[in-house]
Structures are given as structure tokens and as C-alpha cells.
Amino acid sequence: MNDLKTILIVDDELAIRRFLRASLSDGFSLFEAETGAQAIQGVARQNPDLMLLDLGLPDMDGLEVTRQVREWSLVPIIILSARGQEQDKILALDAGADDYLTKPFAIGELQARIRAALRHAKAPQGTGAIFSSQGLEVDHVARRVTVRGTEIKLTPIEYRLLSELVRHAGLVLTHRHLLTHVWGPEYADEMHYLRVYMGQLRHKLETEPARPQHLITEPGVGYRLRVVE
């Protein structure tokens, strides 16, 4: 076996599969599935490094595929879906999917997500002691945060919020995930905590808080810490 990463593409639309094949064949070894059942079999037989999963499949929906696969496999799953399916995306993410992309998407974006997911799969507890991207540095050991060399003082909650995002750098985290991991399970629905603290965090870390470069909003779903290699 060569060291090319294998990706399972699950979509019932030939056009999408053809497009993904054309765009990804350069860096990955690809195989395809058209239905949910085929997808589950594919994961079991080929043990891919990553799965691109469409939410709308003819036999079962992507959410169900995610649930079944997650029972026995940790393969990174990236959901492909249309706009307006926010609720389904959240469910899929909560069921164990690692990320999602809204159709139509740019191929560069897809490649970045794939890389982030693969990276996270390799080192699920984060990127090591120090995270660094676009001038933002987070030192987990010293609990120090700097932006272009300037140290930023964070409150404990702000720091926990940031480090939760850093642990999943590049991947989307749902509101619920952030609320339960930072505040606790009983705060899963207290959206305004997240909004307020995210706002504070942006004002401290971003040059233009309304046009964030690090802390990206995923409308209707959650937040993502952008990683630029």
C-alpha cells in the first residue's frame, strides 16, 4: 500500500461524484458508494481514512449512516449538504460526524477540511503543546495566548472556549458541543452565553471583530477555529 490517504465518497448523484473524483484524485486514493448500505459496507471492508457523506441518500439518510458507522469506527466523516438543512447538520455532527460542507462549495475549502479532519484523526487531543495560525498562538502548557507576539489576557471561560476550539482546530463545533464542554451539560441551550463570550473573545483576538480571521461563524450550526497552514 502506498501512503496515499483513502477517501470514501458517498453520494447518489453521479455529477457530484464525478466532480469530486476529478478534484481529489490528485492527492487521494478514492472509492465510491451510492447508497447508505454500500457506504457502511465500504467503511467495513476498505477501512478508509475519511468519508465524504451526502445527507440525502436513497435508502437511508446520512445521519443514520453516521450513527451506524460510529458504533464501531472512528473514521473521520465530513457531511456534504444543501443550505437549509442546518438542523440535520447539527444532528449529524452531534451523532459523531467531524465536519460539514454546504453545497455548492469551493474545492479549496473541501481540501482544507479534509486535511483538518485527517490531522485531527491522527492527533485527537489537539495539535500539541503550542497551536499557531495567522499570528495567533496558544500555549497550552503555559496557558498563554498571544496575537502577533502581544500577550492577551483571557478570563478562565474565554480561555476554555478558545482551547476547546483549538483542540478541534479547523473543524466545526456545534453550539451544543461548546456549551456542554465549556459551561456544562445543563447549559446546552443557553445560547446567549456563547454569543457574548464569543463576541468578547473576538474583540480580544481579532483585528476586525466583525470580519474575523480566526473565530469563524458557521451560521445556524456553530463555530470553527480557522487554521491556515
Binding site: 437549509g84 446567549h192 457574548v196 463576541g199 473576538r202 466583525a210 445556524g220
Partner: protein, 896 residues
């Protein structure tokens, strides 16, 4: 100039006649008595019809055992009879349902005047026939002249036999054809003697009682007259349609005043005959006066029956309320251009009349140019009612109170005696009588008067403790005391009954007023039904359900149902359906299906029957004509209100479909242009790439860029279309939550990055901007659309400003650009669907701003556009701020 205007009413009647073409035709064979050969004539005509190929069915033949008739019926298709068991007797009846099911062209049903056995749908056979006609089946039937309602009294006078089974005149006069079957009386008697009509055992009795020659001659005359009147009517109809020589004249109108007396029925019949002979319209009126409050239940029922009879005879019935009978009657008469008023001759003694006057006298005096017909009481056709003035239930208690009051007055009198004059003691007694009269009836008061005089005499007048009177002047005291107390008691009880009846009417009027007021405001049928049911229940008691006809399925559904749901029973539901189909009331207290638990009134409006009002009355509650009328008034109000909502919905639907149609065509033309342009570019560029890839990388890249741009454009377009459809077709289910405005605008900016390109965007948000409670995705879309719009109508050196500020209780967001300004009048128009300022600017099909407005308004906000000073446009968006932003005062977790 001769006036050829036809009488509008006559024209209407004629129109009705033509309209009935869908209705079956009715032919009546009329005879003067049994045995003249009506059934025979009917059958032989039917045979003729069958020969001509008409689908004839013999529905029912009275089993008289006449050989000739039976021979005639031989060979005709005969409907099986319905066997009804009733208290060990089985009876054979005409089977209406079988006839409706068989639905022949022509059906023969003997004996129109027959009364059906208990348990039949209708009480009378003529109602069965009415239903057959409504179902479009032609009916031939037979009747003897004495069974015609308006001739009942005349026949009773001639023959001494009161006929119980009668048929409304309207049925005969409205029949399409009436054939007189006539033989000379001598021949009829001979036939009877030959045993051709009745069995031998009955012949002698018949000859003695009914078939006397004098009787037969008179009946024959009646039958002939009935037929000639009809012919006369036809001639008139013919003339009026031909605009013939007869000058137009004002229609005669006759009004009959109904009194609470068993004679009223006779009065109504006489008036009908008078009206017929004058070709006049007939009105029947009853004034439900407080004076009438003292009358017996039985007489009240008589008045109600008379009103119903009048209605059956085709008269318009009116119930008025008021104490001034004469005034009310006359003012109605003047309003309705009545030419003649018919009233009954007073039956009271002259003495009483001198005291209280008679209605007839007052009418005659005050009527002016209206004729008054006074009809004598004459022979009673029904049993004379005994006058029962009081309900006997409370009697013993009330008499006890009379005695008690007498005792009390005496005790007080005894206490006063010696210190006060005897005249004062008389006053005490009078007070007692007044109290009794106030609390009980006139009878008790009279008794109290007598008792008072007796006690006064016994206890106070010398010699005391005896009824003897030593001083003769006390006899005058007694007389005056008795008279005064009687007068007081009569006045008091009259006052009381007036007050009672006034308050009752007041309550009804208030309820009706309430109903109509509420109904004029209510929009939904269910609300109307619920309110009406509540009001009707308030006034009538019992249980009420309003059944509305569904306009899709035509089925009835309860809006609302009654508490016990009595109307849901299959039988009751059947009655309701019947009522709906026939627009005729049925159920208990009526002649149709009287065995049902509920009374069902059709809700008839202009467009037909819109539903059924179901009432399960408390026993005896509707015995009063006034109440039945009131209930009908309620039903009318309800029907009108329901129809109004139906129509409102229709017109709404119609305007909606016009709007939808307009949108659809705009959409089609817009889509065909806006979708095809980018598609053409994509297809063309991709084609070129596919065919000639490689030699010119710069050109290839340009082609790829244009594919990308146009595809992006297409994507936005489709997204907007989908958004608009979603916003319009389903009530958007909003997922409102707390959002940071900065974040929403931030993600909108990142989504529009490419479009905005090099335009500089200036953001100005205060640090303490509160969170907003909105649907994040929808609002992000608003901002995306506003940004796209700004990008579309400006180009790079232009700038974009986004500002937010709080102006409690509002949050104001301004999107401004310094592109071209709007022309006057465009500020509003740009928010319409498929509106674009200039056709040559690409991007979108003019839905973006319409979507913005729909979203903002669904959040209770407003959005509008105005020109900036200098050049450019700004969009201003105002949202109500939620007063209580969620509290974050207590930190939820312990710091690590």
C-alpha cells in the same frame, strides 16, 4: 298612456314556475267525494303514459278493494309497500325511500291527504310527495275537495263532518295540472248502492251520513269552484305575460290578525279564501302583547297553531311585540300597504267590552282607509278550550300565604286599635292585598280582598267578633274597600306581567343584538358558530349545535358540537342531512321526523343552505310561536353570517389566485431571462473548454472564471427563488434565539466577499450593542441580500457603510452606499417582487429586497429605503428590542 307594467310579484311567481323545471311536475286528480273515479282516471292516464314509453311506477294505491280500479292497476310496475308495525297493528304505507331509489319518471301516489303512520319520515303524505317533486320525479295523485285546508270549515258547515286530514292550499294551487273528475251526484249514489265504492256493510251508513244528495251537490260545487278559480288564475298569468289589455293595478294585500283563541285557525282559513278570491297576498300577524301574558297556555298554543297554519297556507307570518295591539297592527299594515285587515268578532260579553274595549272596535275606529273585515266566531270546529288562567302548582302555598297575610294584617290592626282610626286599619289591609297581588296572581289577590273585608268586619267593626254590622255606613266602607283592593290587585298583576314580558323580550332582543353585533365582526365560521350556540343556549336552554356544511365535501361538521353530542348519533345526523338537502326544518316539534331528539333548522342564505342549527329543546320550551320565530331569526342571522364568511373566503381566494397567477407569469418571464443568461454562458464556455483546451491558457482561465461567476450568480438566483417560495408557501417556522448582530453581519460579509470585492465596507457598532432575538439564518440572509444589492447597484470606488444603534425600544441598522440614488417613487417599489431598477444589471430576479422585507416583518420589524444626502441609498431596518435580555449575572461555573 296605458301602463303595461306587469306585476313584479306575478312575474316572480312565474319565474319560480319556470325555475321549477328541475322539479318534478305534479298532477292532481280532484274529486268531490270518494268513488267518483279519481284513482281510475289516474291509472288509465298512467297506462297511456306507459304506452308512450314513459317510465311509470305505481307508488301506492289505497286498498279499497274496488275491482275496476284494481283491474286498471294490473300490469303497472308497483312499488312494494312499507310495512309499519305499531302497537300490534301492521299498517301498509307508501315507501318514500324506495321510490327515491327507483327514481322513475312518473310515480302514482293515491290519496294526497293521507296521514302517515307513526315512525314515518313525514307526518303527512303530501310531504312525501313534496320530496318526490324536489327529487325531480313527476307525481300524479288524487284528492277529495274536502281535504283542501282552506275549505275545511266550509265543508264542516255543509256536511257536519270535521275533516282531520288536510292538505295545504299552496300544494293544489301550485300543482302543474289539476284535473277535475266529476260525475253527477245521482250516479255516484247509484254506484255506492251497487257496492262499487264501499263494502256492502258500510253502504247504508255512508248514505246516511256523508253521501246525502244535498251534501254531494254542495261538495261538487266546491270542487268546480276550486277548478274554475284555478283556470281563472291561469288566464291571469297568461294575460300578464302577454302584456295584455288588463291594466296594471296595485296588488291587494290582506292581513289577518291572530288572537290567542282557538277561533284563529278558522280566521286564517277564511282569510286565505278571501285572499284567493281577490288574488291578494296574505299576511298573518300576531301581537305578543303583555296583555296576552295573562292568557292560558292553551290559547297561546292556539295562536301559535294558527300562525303555523297561515304559513302552511302560504301566508307570510309576522310576530310583533308591544302593548298597543291596535297601533302595532295598523303601523305594520301601513308599512306593508295592506288593503284589508281581517279580525275575529269579539266573543266576550258586552259588559266586559265596555270596561276594556275590543280590538275590533278600536281597529275600525283607527284604521282610516284600510278595510276591516270582521269574521264571526260561528261554529266551533275544535273543542273549546277551557280557560285556565293560573298554573295550579303553586296554589296551596300561595293560598296559605293569603291566609297568613290576612292574619298578619289583623294582628297589626289589633295592635293599632284604639290609638288609630279604623280607616288606617283599612289601609293596612290594602297594603296586604297589594303585596299578595305583587307576589302572586290575580286570583290570590281577589281572595285576599274578600278575606280582608271579612276579617275587617269580624274583628274591628261593631259589633265585634261577629259578621253583623250595626252601622250601615260600614257597608259602604266594605264596598269601597273591596273595589279598591280588587282594582289594586288587577293593576298590580297587570303591571307585573307587563314587566315580566318586557324583561323577557328585552333579554331576547339583547341576545339577538349581541349576536348580530358579534357576527358582523367575526371572521371564522367556527367562532360564529360557537358564539351563536352560546347565545341560543342562553335564550332557549337545552343543547345547541351548529352544523356547518363543508364547502369541499358538502358534509356537515359541528362548529361547535353540543356537549352531549346528541347530533352525532347516526339517526340524528340523518335528520340533519335531510334538513340540509331540503332546506326545510325537521325533527322534534315539527311535522317531519318528529321522533328525533333534536330540532333541526336549516340555515338558509342567498346561496342556499349553508348549514343546520340543531337544538335539543327542554320539553315544551318551543310551544310558543314567539320563541319559534325568535329561533328562526337567530338561524337567519347565523346563516347570513356564515355565508358572509364563505363569501369573504371566496373573494380572498379569488384575489389570491389572481395574485398568484400574476406572480407566476412574472416569474416565468423573469426566470426565462435570468436563468438562461448565466446558463448560456456556462454551457458555451464549458463547451469551448472541452473542445479546445490547452493551447491558450489565458483564454482557458478566462473561460473558467466566467463559468464560475455565472454559476455563482445562478446559485444566488435559485437560492432567492427557493427562499421566497419557502417564505410564502409555509408559515415560516422561525428558530429565534439570541444572536450578536456583529456576528450575523460578519458572516454575511464573509459570504459576499467576492461580490463586494474592492468596495470598502465601514462598520460602526457600539461596544454595548445588545443581543437580538431573531432567527439567525434568516437575518443573515437579510444582510446578505442587502450587501448583494449594494454591490449590484454600485461599483468599486463606491463604499458601503453599516451602522447599528439603539433607540429604545428599537434597534436601528443602516445599510448605506454612495451609488446612484433612487428616483422618486422607487423607494417602495423596490421591495415588490420581481422589481429591478434597470434590466441590464445582472444578478437576481428582483426578489432580494422582497425577501428582506418578508423576513424583517415576520420579526415585527420594518425596513425601508431612502436616498442619502448627496448620492446613494440607505436601507433602514428597525427591530423591536427585546426588553429583557437574558441575564448573565451569575457565572455558571466555578473557575478552574
Amino acid at each position: 298612456m296605458a301602463d303595461f307594467r306587469p306585476d313584479p310579484e306575478a312575474l316572480l311567481a312565474q319565474l319560480k314556475g319556470e325555475e321549477r323545471s328541475a322539479r318534478g311536475r305534479l298532477k292532481v286528480y280532484l274529486g268531490m267525494a270518494a268513488g267518483v273515479g279519481k284513482t281510475y282516471a289516474m291509472l288509465s292516464a298512467a297506462r297511456e303514459c306507459r304506452k308512450r314509453g314513459i317510465d311509470v311506477v305505481l307508488g301506492y294505491l289505497e286498498p279499497h278493494g274496488r275491482a275496476e280500479t284494481e283491474a286498471m292497476a294490473e300490469g303497472l310496475e308497483t312499488l312494494p309497500e312499507r310495512v309499519v308495525g305499531h302497537r300490534n297493528i301492521t299498517m301498509k304505507e307508501f315507501d318514500l325511500d324506495a321510490a327515491l331509489l327507483r327514481k322513475p319518471t312518473l310515480i302514482l301516489v293515491d290519496e294526497l291527504a293521507h296521514s302517515n303512520a307513526m315512525g314515518s319520515r313525514h307526518r303527512k303524505r303530501w310531504q312525501d310527495i313534496e320530496e318526490l317533486l324536489q327529487a325531480g320525479i313527476d307525481v300524479h295523485t288524487t284528492i277529495n275537495v274536502q281535504h283542501i285546508e282552506s275549505l275545511r270549515d266550509t265543508v264542516a258547515k255543509i256536511t257536519g263532518v270535521v275533516v282531520g286530514e288536510t292538505v295545504p292550499d299552496a300544494l293544489i294551487t301550485g300543482a302543474d295540472e289539476v284535473e277535475l273528475v266529476d260525475i253527477p251526484p245521482e250516479e255516484l249514489i247509484q254506484r255506492l248502492q251497487e257496492g262499487k265504492i264501499y263494502e256492502a256493510s258500510k253502504v247504508q251508513q255512508a248514505l246516511e251520513r256523508f253521501f246525502r244528495k244535498g251534501n254531494l251537490l254542495a261538495l261538487r260545487k266546491l270542487a268546480l269552484r276550486q277548478t274554475t278559480e284555478r283556470v281563472d288564475q291561469q288566464v291571469r298569468t297568461f294575460r300578464s305575460t302577454q302584456r295584455g289589455s288588463e291594466p296594471w293595478r296595485t296588488a291587494e294585500r290582506i292581513m289577518v290578525g291572530i288572537a290567542p283563541s282557538p277561533l284563529s285557525a278558522r280566521l286564517v282559513r277564511e282569510s286565505r279564501r278571501l285572499a284567493n278570491s281577490l288574488h291578494a297576498e296574505l299576511l298573518a300577524v300576531w301581537v305578543d302583547a303583555p296583555r296576552a301574558a295573562g292568557i292560558s297556555e292553551q290559547d297561546r298554543k292556539a295562536a301559535q297553531d294558527a300562525l303555523e297554519l297561515a304559513e302552511e297556507l302560504g301566508a307570510e307570518t309576522i310576530v310583533l311585540a308591544g302593548s298597543d295591539i291596535v297601533g302595532q297592527v295598523l303601523s305594520l299594515a301601513r308599512d306593508r300597504n295592506v288593503t284589508t285587515i281581517v279580525v275575529g268578532k269579539p266573543v266576550r260579553s258586552r259588559w266586559l267590552e265596555l270596561v276594556s274595549g275590543s280590538v275590533a272596535d278600536e281597529l275600525i275606529r283607527a284604521s282610516g282607509d284600510i278595510n276591516i273585515h270582521v269574521i264571526s266566531g260561528g261554529v266551533e270546529t275544535g273543542p273549546r278550550s277551557k280557560i285556565q288562567r293560573e298554573t295550579p302548582t303553586a296554589t296551596w302555598k300561595s293560598y296559605g300565604m293569603v291566609v297568613l297575610m290576612g292574619g298578619l294584617c289583623t294582628l297589626i290592626g289589633l295592635g293599632m286599635q284604639g290609638r288609630f282610626d279604623l280607616a288606617n286599619i283599612v289601609m293596612i289591609y290594602l297594603l296586604g292585598v297589594t303585596l299578595i297581588a305583587f307576589h302572586f296572581g290575580q286570583r290570590e289577590a281577589a281572595l285576599a280582598s274578600l278575606l280582608s273585608v271579612g276579617l275587617f268586619d269580624f274583628c274591628f267593626v261593631n259589633p265585634r267578633w261577629s259578621f253583623a254590622v250595626s252601622d250601615v255606613q260600614f257597608l259602604v266602607t266594605f264596598g269601597v274597600m273591596l273595589l279598591v283592593s280588587l282594582l289594586i290587585s288587577s293593576l298590580t298583576s297587570r303591571l307585573k306581567s307587563q314587566a315580566t314580558s318586557l324583561s323577557l323580550r328585552e333579554r331576547r332582543t339583547a341576545a339577538l343584538y349581541d349576536l348580530s353585533k358579534k357576527m358582523s365582526r367575526t371572521r371564522s365560521r367556527r367562532e360564529i358558530g360557537e358564539f351563536a350556540a352560546m347565545k341560543i343556549q342562553e335564550v332557549f336552554g337545552g343543547e345547541v349545535a351548529v352544523l356547518v356544511r363543508s364547502r369541499k365535501s358538502g358534509d356537515l361538521f359541528g362548529a361547535p358540537e353540543s356537549k352531549s353530542g346528541f347530533e352525532r348519533e347516526p339517526n340524528e345526523r340523518g335528520v340533519a342531512k335531510w334538513v340540509l338537502e331540503h332546506s326545510t326544518r325537521a325533527g322534534t316539534e315539527t311535522d317531519t321526523l318528529p321522533g328525533s331528539a333534536g330540532l333541526y333548522l336549516p340555515l338558509v342564505a342567498e346561496t342556499g343552505c349553508v348549514g343546520v342549527l340543531a337544538l335539543r329543546p327542554v320539553t315544551g320550551q318551543l310551544d310558543d310561536a314567539g320563541r319559534m320565530h325568535l329561533l328562526e331569526t337567530f338561524a337567519n342571522q347565523l346563516a347570513v353570517a356564515i355565508e358572509r364568511t364563505n363569501m369573504a373566503k371566496d373573494s380572498h381566494d379569488a384575489s389570491l389566485s389572481v395574485e398568484t397567477e400574476r406572480l407566476r407569469s412574472t416569474l416565468l418571464s423573469s426566470v426565462s431571462h435570468d436563468l438562461r443568461t448565466p446558463l448560456a454562458v456556462i454551457v458555451g464556455a464549458a463547451e469551448t473548454l472541452k473542445e479546445t483546451m490547452g493551447p491558450n491558457p489565458v483564454r482557458d482561465r478566462e473561460l473558467a472564471i466566467s463559468i464560475h461567476t455565472e454559476a455563482d450568480h445562478l446559485n444566488r438566483l435559485v437560492r432567492n427563488l427557493l427562499d421566497m417560495t419557502r417564505l410564502e408557501t409555509q408559515p415560516v417556522s422561525m428558530h429565534r434565539d439570541w444572536h450578536s448582530l456583529e456576528e450575523l453581519i460578519g458572516s454575511a460579509l464573509s459570504r459576499t466577499e467576492v461580490l463586494i470585492g474592492e468596495r470598502s465596507v465601514h462598520l460602526d457598532f457600539p461596544a454595548d450593542l445588545p443581543l437580538v432575538f431573531v432567527d439567525g439564518l434568516l437575518f443573515e440572509q437579510v444582510f446578505v441580500n442587502l450587501l448583494e444589492n449594494a454591490a449590484k447597484y454600485s461599483s468599486p470606488p463606491n463604499q458601503i457603510w453599516i451602522q447599528a444603534s439603539t433607540h429604545a425600544p428599537l434597534l436601528r441598522i443602516t445599510f448605506a452606499n454612495d451609488g446612484p440614488s433612487l428616483l422618486a417613487g422607487e423607494e417602495e417599489r423596490i421591495f415588490g417582487k420581481f422589481q429591478r431598477l434597470s434590466a441590464n444589471i445582472g444578478g437576481g430576479c428582483g426578489l432580494g429586497l422582497a425577501i428582506c422585507r418578508a423576513i424583517v416583518e415576520s420579526h415585527g420589524g420594518i425596513i425601508y429605503a431612502e436616498n442619502r444626502l448627496g448620492s446613494g441609498v440607505q436601507f433602514i431596518l428597525e427591530l423591536p428590542l427585546m426588553v429583557i435580555a437574558p441575564s448573565m449575572a451569575t457565572r455558571p461555573i466555578a473557575n478552574e
